[in-house]
Symmetry: C2
Subunit: 305 residues, 2 copies
């Protein structure tokens, strides 16, 4: 009587601050279905996680003899999330499914495990969710050593050596852009415009960073600067400042960009303006999250419970 | 019948974005009275300036045969202020009272002149109000050559050569602190606390700047960091980043700090951690604004109208 997704073996879930994404997975690794909602960690109290997950995956379940495994990465494992999955300290492999946390309040037809994030003591830093994308990158390119840059609200740069994350750094570039473009005096010049790419390139290559932020406003007071050029200039200054500040951490290593295509292509432009090294590898962040969750699922089914 | 301030010769006014400050001046240069309000440019439409000024200086006026001169510096001269006083381009002396603007809507017992700000074409930059503090610094230290740093919401660094401003740079340090401490993810660690000074010193000296902003939050997630230490760390990172970014502009020149005592002492701490050069000269910003307005008044009364 009940609907049920034929061949459903397990469910992958990437639960961030603003979004929840789920994939219905077959035993052969195929994606049978996908769904998503804006019920991210920022929208939920502890009791809200179970229902938010069921809203998306309920239609896949029907009546089943055994609960369906659900593997979750991201902010659902934060202290103020569904259930705290304590950070694992680097250096370490990005995933250890054996240290996952089982939250209360899931539908009995689901067997939910939340994967932990990574921490670093010096300098103090944390990540939740990006470690799973790093595991996906390692699964996609076994043996690749280098630095992965995951641009976003909080960009992460992580050093990958022999399948382990040995160090990482967070840059608040996306959040700085949102605050400066939306709420600082620069909003009077940026006016919610989409960044213009030539202005982005020039600003990113200038390396001026913080020293030139106010010029975004001043240029508009002294002449006629389109809002898109102001937005592109602000974005380029901030991304350029991130790349400059990450230079010592990167230390000339090969680079991989992992993220939403719009962001990785922007960072690739800025990197091209910045140095003449080999172009970075580029991976879709959502695909890498799924690849990482798939690697974690494989590890769990290989090891006897 | 009407009250009147005995000996009133002219009125000095520093009209910023958030504050209006006025001084009643005697012919001998003495300050006879002071007043202030929070009716800054950010609170006013064009018609509001005349009444906001009169509210403060009205009690000083009484019935007078001739209008009292009022010299105004700051944001009242912005395009969206009381009356636009077009920028003067550097290099130039910081003040030229002959290019002041007379606004409409002042009480007939007042003769108001608004002094213009300064502009620079490359990199694009502007100031309104700080040029008057620079004129005050030049009046206080005739013949001093060096770089003046005026810390604040928008910190200004200006090169002074032979009584002229030859170049300047703006850093959005104060506004960045307010946005990050009040509205970013870091607010969860800073919690409106007053910055702790040892944490400020360490962060300012680290030179880490943007690269370590997120550590303000991460350190609190990984251990127990008091909010005041988080606030001090954030403030030190931003002020340190400003000093580092201004290094090339300063180019080893002698330094003068001009501003509110709480801010200039903070910058002096950060500078001491940063380099071993001579300690900067330190001046009160409000006193320098008055000294600059006084110099402008003297220039106006010397030149035949």
């Amino acid at each position: 009587m009940n609907a049920r997704l034929e061949g459903l073996d397990w469910i992958a879930a990437d639960w961030g601050t603003t979004r929840l994404r789920v994939w219905a997975m077959g035993a052969d690794g195929r994606v049978l279905a996908r769904a998503g909602s804006d019920r991210g960690m920022g929208q939920l109290d502890r009791a809200g996680y179970g229902p938010a997950l069921l809203d998306l995956v309920g239609p896949w379940l029907g009546d089943r003899p055994d609960p369906v495994p659900v593997l979750v990465c991201g902010m659902a494992g934060a202290r103020s999330g569904w259930a705290e999955a304590a950070y694992r300290a680097v250096p370490c492999a990005p995933l250890d499914p054996a240290s996952a946390t089982r939250p209360d309040g899931a539908d009995p037809r689901l067997s939910v495990l939340i994967l932990p994030g990574l921490s670093q003591s010096a300098p103090p830093d944390v990540m939740r969710g990006e470690e799973t994308q790093l595991a996906g990158l390692i699964a996609a390119r076994p043996g690749w050593n280098g630095v992965a840059c995951l641009p976003g609200t909080h960009s992460k740069w992580a050093r990958i050596e022999d399948g382990r994350v040995t160090a990482f750094r967070t840059f608040m570039t996306g959040e700085l852009y949102a605050l400066l473009a939306g709420q600082s005096v620069l909003r009077l010049s940026v006016m919610d415009a989409e960044p213009d790419l030539p202005a982005f390139d020039t600003a990113a290559a200038s390396g001026a960073g913080l020293a030139d932020l106010f010029s975004v406003r001043a240029a508009g007071l002294l002449g006629d600067v389109p809002a898109a050029a102001a937005a592109g200039r602000l974005s380029g200054l901030l991304v350029g400042a991130e790349i400059a500040a990450a230079e010592a951490f990167r230390a000339g290593a090969p680079l991989a960009l992992v993220g939403a295509p719009a962001l990785t292509s922007l960072y690739a432009r800025a990197l091209a303006a910045w140095d003449a090294g080999d172009p970075p590898l580029i991976f879709d962040g959502s695909e890498m999250a799924l690849a990482g969750l798939t690697a974690a699922r494989a590890a769990l089914t290989k090891v006897p419970a």
